[in-house]
């Protein structure tokens, strides 16, 4: 029976094998943010929430020198910044924006990053359509091609697939938002 290796040699062997193994360790995959612009969106927004459009109303100007605005009431399902879950939030948008496509319909479910109120009491989504996401019936966030580069953190989508849309789970969104707000 051969004599056991001296302790010193055993330690050297372990050290040698460990040092060989270290460079072979795979680099940790780089995580893409769930929403690429989320850092910018989160830091510019005065309100971040998901909710349902309860009502839409055009407030006509009360005199010839004032301008019409839209009053939109949301039932907030999840309030992340500037508003609480379960609260009703009333915002005002310049009526003209509705002509250029920024409009809501009753019952619509959305996730919004809104600018803080202006001195006129008006707001709109941060970065236009970048700050507005539709939500499906399951509460997932629908990310359209124009808003992409977006995807769940751990499942990068190959560029060549060109998905028509991505569905983001609320928990993935919350994780990404928290990370964005902490940095």
């Amino acid at each position: 029976m051969p004599a056991p290796l001296p302790r010193f040699l055993t330690a050297c062997l372990i050290f040698f094998l460990a040092s060989m193994a270290a460079p072979a360790e795979l680099p940790r995959p780089v995580e893409r943010p769930a929403i690429p612009k989320i850092h910018s969106l989160a830091h510019k927004a005065g309100y971040i929430f998901s909710g349902t459009v309860k009502s839409v109303e055009r407030i006509a100007p009360n005199n010839a020198s004032s301008v019409p605005v839209m009053r939109i009431t949301f039932q907030v399902d999840k309030g992340y910044v500037g508003v609480r879950s379960g609260q009703q939030l009333v915002i005002h948008e310049c009526a003209g924006l509705w002509q250029s496509g920024e409009s809501y319909r009753r019952g619509e479910k959305v996730l919004l990053f809104l600018y803080p109120l202006s001195k006129l009491g008006l707001t709109s989504p941060v970065g236009g359509m970048s700050g507005r996401f539709a939500m499906d019936r399951g509460g997932r966030i629908v990310i359209l091609p124009g808003q992409m580069g977006i995807g769940p953190s751990h499942t990068p989508t190959p560029v060549e697939e060109a998905p028509t849309r991505i569905l983001l789970r609320p928990e993935d969104f919350v994780r990404a938002l928290r990370a964005a707000l902490e940095n």
């Binding site: 910018s40 010839a64 924006l97 600018y115 202006s118 001195k119 008006l122 709109s124 941060v126 970065g127």
Partner: protein, 227 residues
């Protein structure tokens, strides 16, 4: 000969005569392509506001001419008033120089003031005021072009921070059509150009691109400016 046997004969012909099949495909393409449409007018005269004879008519600018009026102020230190006017004219030409365009733009004068955050404000009753010649009712200045030198007008309309330089991708140029004549014409529109997005010559193309996109929203993805 019954209908089913006619169809059966047609299928048999298609299978046995490749030339006939090809002819059939070409005929179908020619017939169906007439039904295809790349787009349609965005604004159509409806029944409740417009004159009865105009129902269904696509809205256009009167006479195919947009008479626009520009801000008296500067767009930025790099684009003082006259340079800004040239930028607007060049931006318009991107649309109007298209060979099929049925629209022209005329710089008809200047607005009566330098529009800024100082003259766009909220009244004590919550209503919003701004200079008379850029309001929806200002049909004498059918298109007002505002040079928002410090981004404060953009901030006021879109929300605090919207006029920052970092927001130029979406907010360099924005606007809307805010008055429609009952005879199915556009009566007034407003465009705001954010001066924070026009600080260098290299930003000129970006601003013009945003201008074109903004006007595309207004009319021509709509067909209203094309023959």
């Amino acid at each position: 000969m019954t209908h089913s046997s006619s169809v059966g004969d047609l299928e048999l012909w298609g299978r046995t005569h490749p030339f006939f099949r090809l002819l059939l495909i070409i005929a179908l393409i020619i017939a169906l392509v007439r039904l295809a449409q790349a787009g349609g007018p965005k604004y159509i005269a409806g029944v409740s506001y417009f004159n009865s004879g105009t129902v269904g008519t696509p809205l256009t600018w009167p006479g195919g001419v947009i008479n626009y009026y520009t801000d008296q102020g500067d767009l930025s230190s790099f684009f003082p008033g006259p340079s800004a006017d040239a930028l607007v004219a060049d931006s318009f030409s991107q649309w109007t120089s298209v060979s099929t365009a049925a629209i022209s733009a005329v710089h008809s004068g200047q607005l009566a003031e330098n529009v800024s955050g100082a003259n766009v404000y909220e009244n004590p009753d919550g209503s919003i005021s701004m200079p008379a010649d850029i309001q929806p009712s200002a049909t004498g200045t059918p298109l007002g072009v505002v040079y928002d030198e410090d981004g404060s007008v953009t901030d006021a309309f879109l929300g605090q921070g919207a006029g920052d330089e970092s927001e130029c991708f979406s907010n360099a140029v924005f606007g809307w059509i805010d008055n429609f004549a009952t005879d199915a014409y556009f009566a007034h529109a407003l465009v705001v150009i954010n001066g924070n997005c026009a600080q260098t010559s290299s930003q000129q193309n970006d601003v013009e691109y945003r201008w074109c996109a903004c006007w595309g929203e207004f009319w021509d993805s709509t067909g209203a400016g094309e023959r």
